[in-house]
């Protein structure tokens, strides 16, 4: 793809998914053609993102401005390290998820599949918009598009339960974004006069720390997608969605758009130095720490596998929020790396949960004893994903946790260090028994059932993401370099 100008590639990354929607809607009658459109689009996008990455490592600056709505308020994009990480993760995982979804949606005989793939493409397009946005205004627009385009996916089943979940989802995400996030953006614009992401922050020297502190609170609560408590309830509610949605959107795209926004705001709107002086930073940091622990405790009590994973996500997202609030370079690096590491780990777990659902029709943890003998590949992948979430070698999760810990150490936040350690233990307690029990002999001494694995496209997808968890442990260098260059 290097024959294209990098500016063009950047715009195409956002536009190709949108164009794919037209293709998906037009070819909706024939399943195979429709899925082919999705696959081709995601292949193109992946190639574009990789092309962008090559340009980025070569040091080519990429910036595009579409139009200016009001003086100082423009829709424009710029490539920087954090956005690159997010775009790479989303680009790779979209392709994988499309494969997974094909297997899942067909064997689960879902309705309205055309609408499903179209909304999926729109959601991904807006994820790239969030990743590349060069100012808060642009980011906000795509953040909202992401909320609206995922609503039909959450309510996909059309049951009363799905609608109730959808209402919670939309209510919290849209509500916090308008009441707090937009308010914070307006306040920032009023105080700083700009919304451009700038190294070292935008607030002029001498800005009142009281106002800064208030704005920080508004940002942290306003970015509801980061699911800090008490605004986390939308995430478990969203688990009524089909599993591919939970996997890509509610383990990767949507939630990561939230913590990504927070990292961006912390680094490029406040700046680490200013962040350190604010009176509310510590309080919010402890709130994030509390979210980590409380969500883990709730996760332990969930028997529904997807719900348990959802609470685990709430807990893991607060790692990244905490990384930002530590306001140290290692914290930001760790947070940014954790975006990628957690994405691969958690998507693997969701893929596995969905695979178990479509092949064995089991949704609860208590039913999973012995399934490892029926679905050995799936459960091994589950084990690898679990290790990555816990943060144990030989999986990628170990690295991001390492940096988060050293960030906490740098900031002298012993409490947060303790929280991170405790959380690892809790993770072990509520995740590890699942793959372990799966390889116990079936209860009541029944004979081992024959192997019955997930549909092949799905199996390939979940094997790939599990493999990536291992690869990222051995070769974390490119990711680390990207993450470390954010603050330099």
């Amino acid at each position: 793809m290097n024959f294209l100008a990098p500016e063009l590639m950047l715009q195409l990354t956002m536009l190709v998914p949108v164009l794919a929607i037209a293709g998906i809607l037009l070819t909706g009658r024939s399943e195979n053609v429709r899925e082919a459109v999705s696959i081709i689009a995601s292949l193109i996008v992946l190639a574009l993102v990789i092309g962008l990455y090559q340009n980025f490592t070569a040091g080519v600056p990429v910036a595009v401005s579409w139009f200016e709505i009001m003086p100082g308020l423009s829709l424009s994009f710029r490539l920087e390290a954090m956005g690159m990480i997010f775009a790479l993760v989303a680009g790779v995982l979209w392709l994988v998820t499309i494969f997974y979804a094909i297997g899942y949606m067909r064997s689960h005989h879902e309705q309205n599949q055309t609408r499903f793939y179209a909304c999926f493409a729109l959601a991904i397009g807006s994820v790239f918009g969030v990743a590349f946005a060069s100012n808060l205004f642009t980011l906000f627009i795509f953040y909202e598009v992401l909320t609206l385009s995922t609503y039909p996916l959450v309510t996909h089943a059309g049951t009363p339960e799905a609608k109730k979940g959808g209402r919670t989802y939309l209510g919290i995400l849209l509500g916090t974004s308008i009441a707090f996030f937009l308010f914070a953006i307006l306040g920032t614009y009023f105080v700083a006069g700009t919304l451009e992401f700038t190294e070292g922050g935008v607030f002029p020297a001498g800005t009142s720390t009281a106002i800064g502190g208030a704005l920080l609170v508004l940002f942290v609560f306003g970015v509801g997608k980061a699911a800090i408590m008490p605004f986390h309830r939308w995430l478990p509610a969203a688990m009524v969605a089909p599993t591919p949605v939970s996997a890509l959107l509610h383990a990767v795209a949507v939630v990561k758009a939230g913590v990504f926004t927070l990292l961006k705001v912390g680094t490029f709107i406040f700046g680490l130095d200013f962040l350190n002086t604010l009176p509310t930073t510590d309080a919010l940091l402890y709130l994030a720490g509390a979210s980590v622990v409380i969500a883990s405790l709730i996760a332990m009590r969930q028997d529904n596998l997807k719900k348990r994973l959802a609470y685990s996500t709430v807990s893991q997202l607060s790692y990244i929020t905490a990384g930002m609030l530590l306001a140290t370079e290692a914290g930001i690096t760790g947070g940014a790396m954790h975006i990628a590491m957690h994405a691969f780990g958690k998507i693997t777990l969701f893929f596995c949960a969905g695979a178990i659902l479509v092949t064995l029709h089991k949704t609860n943890v208590s039913q999973l004893r012995g399934v490892g003998w029926q679905m050995p590949f799936t459960m091994i992948a589950f084990l690898i994903g679990t290790l990555s979430i816990i943060g144990l070698p030989p999986t990628g999760g170990a690295w991001s946790k390492w940096f988060l810990l050293s960030g906490a150490l740098e900031a002298d936040q012993v409490v947060i260090m303790g929280v991170l350690m405790l959380s690892s233990l809790l993770n072990i307690a509520y995740l590890l028994p699942i793959p372990v029990l799966a390889f116990f002999p079936p209860a009541d001494g029944a004979a081992r059932p024959a192997i019955k694995e997930a549909p092949l496209p799905s199996l390939l997808a979940l094997s790939f993401t599990a493999l990536m968890c291992l690869v990222l442990f051995v070769f974390p260098q490119p990711l680390y370099e990207l993450a470390a260059s954010i603050t330099n």
Binding site: F67, I69, M70, E144, G158, A179
Partner: protein
């Protein structure tokens, strides 16, 4: 010809109205009325461009000089409003022929167009004139025409709604007349510019205070400021849909314009805001209006009535903008006047399309309607997003400037209130979206087709305007900025 433009845009509809009587066939009447309206629209666009180039235009009626004769005065404040009124009227008339087929008995169609033209002439007259008494005259013309238009509604309750409005409107007009009369007593003049010069000499008299109070309360009645809004929901709900489209987009805006003109130009900033506790009153009523009306809107089944309550809430935003008593605040109000005209026009016109096919606009009968009328409901969705204030629509621009104005005054809680108001509008708009898009079609859903193109095309013109002016704000922002600067430049 060019020098007479300012009066032409009132004269054209005023003369076209009786001329309609001569044309018997209703298609001819429609074509003639639409043509006249488009002519008026063209004139007002010319006027706006002229004002933007060379400043305010003063026109002396019959060649009598200003303080004695009637002056028409077009400046940055009213020129954009003239464009809005005639523009919305023209677009709505395009759809009117189809829309009234099912809503107004055939033998009354000619009357409908006549009343429409008179109503428009009245609204344009109020906006264009520089004479206080002339405001009252045109106000009566437009009001009487409006009562007729509302009473044309098919539902028999339209008569009652029209009567309700007639009572409220007459009280309002009487108050306005008393106010103008008292001003005349004290100054001996009716010309606005002249009034502005002479009022300061006598401003510390009880009579002037009384005049101001009567006038403002009268105008608030006409613009349906909470809690004087009680006539509005019924009038909007039972009037023929196309009438509601026109009135909701223009009539209340004109009243807000009169209020701004008198507060800032005639009585002056000093008098209105320092001698009078206007700021506190307007702010309280504005915020109360936003919340009460939005909450009531959430519980409506009839969507026309729901949108009517939403209009009352939006008037709260307009009044709030005035209460900031700052240049940005006024600018936000002016901007929101134009923008709200576009969004409510689009929303009510989409309801006109629904009523055309369904006969009613009740949410309980609209399950899954989006699969039957996709273009109509898509228009409603975009209009609704604009009402909420989602970026890239005009609503966002309005909200942005409103909140900026609040922050400029340091009124952080008010800024928060504005955003909370948006949240309420999310609820009442999303209620509709959920039913129309995500409820499956049931037996109670009427088996209908998409609305005809004669309604869809005007509808989508308005929808696209919502998007266009939400992205390219250079025209609207610069015009309102200049108008606000003019209003404040006169003082400082």
């Amino acid at each position: 010809m060019i020098v007479h433009l300012s009066v032409l845009q009132v004269i054209i509809p005023l003369m076209a109205a009786p001329a309609c009587l001569l044309l018997r066939k209703r298609e001819l009447v429609w074509a003639f009325a639409t043509l006249a309206t488009f002519l008026t629209f063209a004139v007002s666009v010319l006027l706006l461009s002229q004002v933007m180039q060379s400043g305010a235009i003063s026109y002396e009626m019959g060649g009598w000089e200003a303080p004695w004769g009637i002056e028409y005065r077009i400046d940055m404040l009213n020129a954009p409003l003239l464009v809005l009124i005639s523009g919305i009227s023209a677009i709505a008339l395009l759809a009117a022929r189809t829309s009234i087929e099912n809503e107004i008995p055939e033998n009354r169609h000619s009357f409908f167009y006549i009343a429409w033209l008179l109503c428009m002439a009245g609204l344009l007259g109020i906006t264009a004139t520089g004479d206080a008494f002339n405001v009252f005259v045109f106000l009566e013309i437009s009001s009487l025409a409006t009562y007729t238009l509302i009473a044309l509604g098919k539902d028999r309750r339209a008569l009652w709604a029209s009567f309700q409005y007639l009572v409220a409107g007459t009280i309002g007009a009487t108050f306005i007349l008393i106010g103008i009369g008292l001003m005349y007593v004290m100054t001996g003049t009716l010309n606005m510019a002249d009034l502005a010069q002479r009022l300061p000499e006598v401003e510390n008299t009880k009579t002037v205070f009384t005049a101001f109070a009567f006038f403002i309360v009268g105008v608030c009645m006409k613009l349906a400021l909470f809690p004087l809004h009680l006539w509005l929901p019924n009038a909007y709900a039972f009037a023929p849909s196309i009438v509601t489209t026109f009135l909701a987009a223009t009539a209340t805006k004109v009243a807000v314009y009169v209020m701004i003109r008198f507060i800032f130009d005639v009585f002056g900033f000093e008098f209105s805001f320092t001698h009078f506790p206007l700021q506190e009153i307007l702010m309280t009523l504005g915020i109360a209006g936003i919340f009460v009306a939005s909450i009531v809107a959430i519980y409506q089944d009839n969507l026309k009535r729901m949108l009517a309550y939403s209009s009352v809430a939006q008037i709260g935003y307009l009044i709030l903008g005035i209460s900031f008593a700052s240049q940005t605040g006024i600018m936000a109000t002016l901007l929101h006047m134009l923008n709200h005209g576009l969004m409510k026009g689009a929303l009510f016109l989409s309801m006109a399309a629904v009523v055309y096919r369904l006969g009613v606009a009740n949410l309980s009968q609209m399950h899954g309607i989006a699969s039957r009328m996709p273009l109509t409901m898509a228009a409603f969705l975009i209009g609704g997003l604009s009402l909420i204030g989602v970026p890239l629509t005009v609503g966002f621009i309005s909200k942005w400037y409103l909140v900026s104005a609040a922050l400029e005054n340091g009124w952080w809680p008010v800024a928060a209130a504005i955003l909370l108001g948006s949240l309420l509008s999310v609820i009442y708009i999303w209620r509709v979206i959920e039913v129309a898009y995500f409820k499956s079609v049931t037996e109670s859903t009427p088996d209908v087709k998409e609305a005809p193109f004669s309604i869809l095309i005007p509808l989508w013109i308005l929808v696209l305007a919502n998007l266009y002016f939400g992205i390219d704000t250079s025209l609207t922002v610069s015009v309102t900025q200049m108008a606000a600067a003019d209003l404040f430049g006169g003082l400082r």
